[in-house]
């Protein structure tokens, strides 16, 4: 009975300031201890103390109602392991990984904008928000979130969602994060100052991708019409693919680089790599190479112009639209190929 009473009391006191709750719980425990010593039964003592709900009401009246909505939501999320069987609609969901379990993030989205930043206190956090303008048609935006071992998955589905709808995913990742995978249709994606051990992969249709100060083992980017802009990327292997979006890389170091587009322009400014491969159908290619070693360069345009660094370190030959030659000692390799675009290489 004592245990039941104390449990009921604890439950009744949820809206009472935790400090006060603790004190009252202690007093009541002591009351039970002494009453039992005096020969009373647990039942008698519980009856005498009175209805927990009534007592909680008095405390709330006196000290005010204590609310912890955010913490409550987080705790609930944690308990459920953030697992949702059904798709949810309009809403906000928080996830905080205080135990440092989450190492992998997978986002499968429709319209959400994504922002990934470093966590200042080393705790992984994710906030998903959405709001849909329903209008006269059944416009729906549904989402589901799951945690499986070290992986957090957010899945979003849109069905005829209007332009005024909005949705976002904000993530704070700790230092030792392993893998990030983002699929999105029209949301913009921003990754900033993050260190991801294994790889980062971003796949969008019309959203723009903006990356700043990212360090990772492997980087994969894919877009249809969105532009890709990267500043200060460090990686072993980078692959970027676009149809009509431009790809712009600045002050980056990617050991192996593979860039491909149909009509998008490719520009690499202050770029360092061991092996680079650029290929486009109608886009222009601008290449500003840095680094101690030189490069062996093959640049080829069917109908566009090819321009090489002016300094006579170049020893190459133009044959038709194809240039083949060496810049410096030729340690690195550069292959550039376009059908109708222009190629400009500078040092």
């Amino acid at each position: 009975m004592r245990e039941q009473y104390m449990k009921a009391l604890r439950e009744a006191l949820v809206h009472v300031n935790p400090e006060i709750e603790r004190e009252i719980m202690e007093d009541f425990e002591a009351h039970f201890d002494m009453g039992l010593d005096e020969g009373k039964t647990e039942q008698e003592l519980a009856d005498e103390l009175g209805d927990p709900v009534e007592l909680a009401k008095q405390l709330e009246e006196e000290y005010g109602r204590f609310e912890t909505p955010e913490k409550g939501a987080e705790m609930q999320a944690k308990e459920k392991k953030w697992y949702q069987e059904d798709m949810k609609e309009n809403g906000v969901d928080y996830f905080t990984d205080t135990e440092g379990e989450i190492k992998v993030l997978k986002l499968d989205l429709a319209i959400a904008d994504v922002s990934i930043v470093p966590s200042e206190d080393g705790v992984f956090r994710l906030v998903y928000r959405n709001s849909v303008n329903q209008g006269i048609f059944k416009k729906r935006l549904r989402y589901r979130t799951r945690v499986f071992r070290d992986t957090l998955v957010v899945h979003e589905e849109a069905n005829g969602v209007s332009g005024r709808s909005y949705s976002s995913v904000e993530v704070e990742v700790p230092e030792n994060f392993v893998h990030i995978e983002i699929k999105d249709r029209c949301g913009d994606i921003e990754i900033e100052k993050v260190d991801v051990e294994a790889d980062v992969s971003v796949d969008t249709v019309s959203g723009d991708v903006r990356i700043e100060q990212l360090s990772t083992g492997e980087m994969r980017l894919c877009t249809v019409s969105g532009d890709i802009r990267i500043d200060n990327l460090k990686t072993e292997m980078m692959r970027a693919k676009s149809v009509s979006g431009d790809v712009h890389l600045e002050d980056s170091k990617c050991e192996n680089t593979d860039c491909e587009s149909v009509s998008g322009d490719l520009s690499m400014i202050g770029f360092q790599a061991k092996r680079m491969d650029f290929s486009t159908k109608s886009g222009d290619v601008e290449l500003n190479l840095i680094g101690e070693e030189g490069y062996e360069v093959v640049a080829e345009s069917l109908s566009g112009d090819v321009e090489m660094p002016r300094r006579e370190r170049t020893s190459g030959l133009f044959v038709g639209g194809k240039y083949r030659g060496m810049i410096g000692n030729g340690e690195g390799r550069v292959y550039v190929k376009t059908l109708s675009g222009d190629i400009v290489v500078t040092e």
């Binding site: 004190e23 009453g35 007592l55 006196e62």
Partner: protein, 103 residues
């Protein structure tokens, strides 16, 4: 007994008991519940409030075999409060008696 009526005087009863001698919570609840029927839990809420208002202070006393007992002691402010409430009650009680035609 009417709960509202009781609520007003309960604090005075608690102050009165502690003014006689320092006591611990269980002792106080036993003392008061012998005289009137009430949920003893309420008394702990009153003790908590009196402590917040610095009318009482607490200290722990080792109770030998059991856990330490939390004793309540009336402070100077508590004495003033007790006197004030005592007088208020006396005049109020006199007025009620008068209105009831007893005096």
């Amino acid at each position: 007994m009417n709960a509202q009526l009781k609520k007003g005087v309960l604090e005075l009863c608690v102050l009165a008991r502690i003014s006689k001698s320092d006591c611990y919570g269980y002792e106080l609840t036993e003392h008061i519940s012998q005289e009137m029927e009430l949920a003893t839990g309420t008394l702990y809420l009153i003790l908590k409030r009196l402590r917040d208002e610095e009318c009482v202070e607490t200290y722990l006393v080792d109770a030998g075999n059991g856990p330490a007992r939390k004793y309540y002691h009336l402070t100077d402010k508590g004495w003033q409060e007790y006197r004030k409430q005592y007088e208020e009650y006396q005049s109020f009680s006199a007025a009620v008696k008068h209105l009831l035609g007893e005096e």
